[in-house]
């Protein structure tokens, strides 16, 4: 959908496939979205203006035990719960794949019964865009330890 708005001398478009609203203007001074005092005004846009709608933000989240949120910038936050196997290890598939880069993965104990056990680490060599591997490094592995994982990337 595109709307030519003569007042701003530009084009209002929702054609962007990511669901963000694009506004392009030929006007050199300003875009006014709403005439009321509460509206925002952008002056002298140097490039096409992108606004992430609430629909887009809500459509890129899943607030569950294993979930994610994609921010309008593209930054992805993900979290997961996992229980270790008898060897104290666990493979974790992210709720969604990272399209570009994984910035950080963390894992911490979630259950009080495993408090004090510090024998697990994220194996950096196993990091892929879709998976990572938690490995016991204590030599005294805990079976069925509940681990809370958090990953960030884009």
């Amino acid at each position: 959908m595109s709307i030519i708005d003569s007042r701003v001398g530009g084009l209002v478009s929702t054609a962007d496939t990511t669901g963000t609203l694009q506004i392009q203007t030929n006007s050199v001074d300003a875009i006014t979205i709403d005439g009321s005092q509460s509206a925002f005004v952008i002056k002298n846009p140097t490039q096409p203006l992108q606004i992430a709608t609430k629909q887009y933000v809500d459509g890129t989240k899943s607030f569950t035990q294993n979930g994610y949120q994609v921010l309008p910038s593209g930054l992805i936050l993900q979290w997961a719960r996992i229980n270790t196997n008898a060897s104290g290890n666990a493979n974790v598939v992210y709720p969604i794949a990272f399209p570009n880069v994984i910035l950080s993965v963390n894992a911490n104990f979630n259950s009080v019964s495993n408090f004090g056990y510090l024998g697990i680490t994220v194996q950096a060599s196993t990091l892929t865009s879709t998976n990572f591997y938690l490995s016991d490094v204590s030599g005294v592995p805990v079976n069925d330890a509940s681990i809370a994982c958090f990953a960030i990337g884009y």
């Binding site: 496939t17 990511t18 669901g19 887009y56 459509g59 890129t60 899943s62 569950t64 035990q65 294993n66 994609v70 593209g74 992805i76 997961a80 719960r81 996992i82 229980n83 196997n85 666990a90 493979n91 974790v92 598939v93 992210y94 709720p95 969604i96 794949a97 399209p99 892929t128 865009s129 879709t130 998976n131 069925d144």
Partner: protein, 57 residues
């Protein structure tokens, strides 16, 4: 709607993954959530467990 790839053993969403592996198959949000919940409870996500959930031999 989500997509699953056996090759990468990962999940994809069309909102952000403009390119996906060639072998992706559609899975429902409910199936995706079940796989993650099962992973939390000790059943790893593998091509076999995904196919079993989808009812594919």
């Amino acid at each position: 709607m989500k997509y699953y790839s056996q090759t990468t053993n990962g999940f994809y969403i069309p909102e952000i993954h403009t390119t996906m592996p060639n072998d992706v198959v559609e899975i429902t949000d409910e199936q995706w959530q079940s796989l993650l919940d099962n992973q939390s409870n000790g059943t790893p996500i593998t091509p076999e467990t995904v196919n079993a959930l989808k009812g594919v031999a």
